[in-house]
């Protein structure tokens, strides 16, 4: 895309969003929308500011971030490790493939009963639920990325004295599968955010719990504040991750 075209695109996107917010505001003020069901957009900054001043915003964001990063870390590391091992060791692949097929379709939130039985209504339970969704994404992307590696590279490694398992893993499997693995990590980053709120809805302190509280009081403006918070945090992480990804994969560009 040329530069002017890109500028025009940005402009159109910004104007459309602003127009939507304006129509929303107008619809409430004119009375087309019931004000107890949807908040006024113009109220949102003030509500956010109040939440920040009370210290609630930072508290719940930090709690959610802690569940998120623990769940994301554990799910990603295990997913990549198990996925790569399955792709590299045919026996392990055969041994666990039915179990994987059985567990894979179970959504992370279906694990909530067990999470509560095993860990109680604790942060560990939230991290556990988040890690499940992240695990499967990373498992499958790592598995297919390693399976797709050209056998020719392994022959080169053998011809140059790098045929041992650990040499092949470090010098071929990991770097060659890196584009796929990083793609999985990025997808897991988004998936993790989606489960974080759901996992907190049953009472674990965090953004989700705060949203449930607010909805009980019909404080829709507070709910929207946290919806926007989630969107903004996700955008920030995704942006940072993309920069890292671009750096790691600079050999591709």
């Amino acid at each position: 895309m040329t530069r002017p075209a890109r500028h025009r695109r940005t402009l159109i996107s910004a104007v459309s969003l602003a127009a939507l917010v304006a129509i929303w505001e107008a619809a409430l003020r004119v009375g087309w929308l019931p004000s107890n069901l949807v908040p006024l957009p113009s109220q949102i900054p003030g509500v956010l500011w109040a939440e920040v001043l009370d210290g609630i915003w930072l508290d719940v964001v930090l709690s959610s971030l802690s569940h998120y990063s623990i769940g994301l870390g554990i799910g990603s590391v295990l997913g990549i490790a198990v996925g790569m091992t399955a792709a590299l060791l045919p026996r392990f692949d055969a041994a666990h493939s039915w179990l994987a097929r059985l567990l894979r379709p179970i959504p992370p939130l279906a694990w909530i009963p067990f999470a509560i039985i095993w860990f109680g209504v604790t942060e560990t339970a939230a991290a556990f639920i988040i890690s499940i969704g992240v695990f499967w994404i990373n498992y499958f992307t790592s598995y297919s990325a390693v399976r797709a590696i050209d056998d020719g590279y392994y022959e080169v490694a053998r011809a140059f004295g790098q045929g041992g398992f650990s040499a092949r893993l470090a010098k071929i499997s990991l770097p060659a599968a890196a584009p796929g693995i990083l793609g999985g990590l990025r997808a897991g980053l988004g998936q993790g955010w989606m489960t974080v709120v759901a996992a907190e809805l049953f009472g674990i302190p965090g953004i989700g719990q705060r949203m449930m509280e607010a909805s009980g009081l019909l404080a829709t403006d507070v709910v929207v504040v946290y919806m926007l918070t989630i969107a903004a945090l996700y955008a920030l992480f995704d942006f940072l991750f993309m920069r890292i990804q671009r750096r790691v994969l600079r050999w591709q560009q």
């Binding site: 080169v156 140059f160 790098q162 040499a167 010098k171 060659a176 890196a178």
Partner: protein, 263 residues
Amino acid sequence: MAAMNDASAPVLTARGVRLGFADDVVLDDIDLEVAPREFVAMVGASGVGKSTLLRAFAGLLAPQRGDVHLSTAEASASRAWSMVFQAPRLFPWRRVRANVELGLEGLGLSRDERRARAMEPLSLVGLEELAERWPRTLSGGQQQRVGIARALAVRPRVLFMDEPFSALDALTRQRLQSELTELRQRSDAAIVFVTHDIEEAVLLADRVVVLAKPDKGAPATVRDIVTIDLPLARRREQSGFREHVQRLEQHIGVAATPEETTS
């Protein structure tokens, strides 16, 4: 094997080698000796098993019968053999220099020593300027030069080359052929070179091994070994060049199967 490392002993000895997959024998009764610094080309029709044999010589494939002896690495921080493949197969995630360093890893060299050792063959193939580039930014000919540098970096006693120029355009191929002739003078490696191009074999080699099937359906074997006794300089213009090519073409049976005269 230890006794084979004196200066004149063959660097590669194959005796009675049989290769194939289960009952399907592709090559049989292969005997060959390669002397130090010798250049042996192996030619034959496509599908005759040239590349398979090369891999068996290198120890990448186990023969069904017979044995292959490769002399061990001579100098410290070197390898007994290395290989140049048909496709360069550079690692795209490593810069050119790091690709050349691949075989030097695990030989007990420091990072700086590896770096210096990688630059030597890179300058031999004229690419020291491109050492910090990513492989995808190189042309096909440059990539294959890096493949050659990677193989030379380990100072092998035997350099296996598996149709290294067949994927290149005619002009680049000719240039690399003459570069290889020059490289030979500066390397101590013996070269075993697989090609389907008879002129290329006669142009480069000291001896040309012809692999062919004695009968239809029978496994291929060594039909002939032709010594090319022409000087390397301007070899193509020598009077004996065409006679060698013609003789080899007859041996391979090019006349009988014209679709295989790809050269």
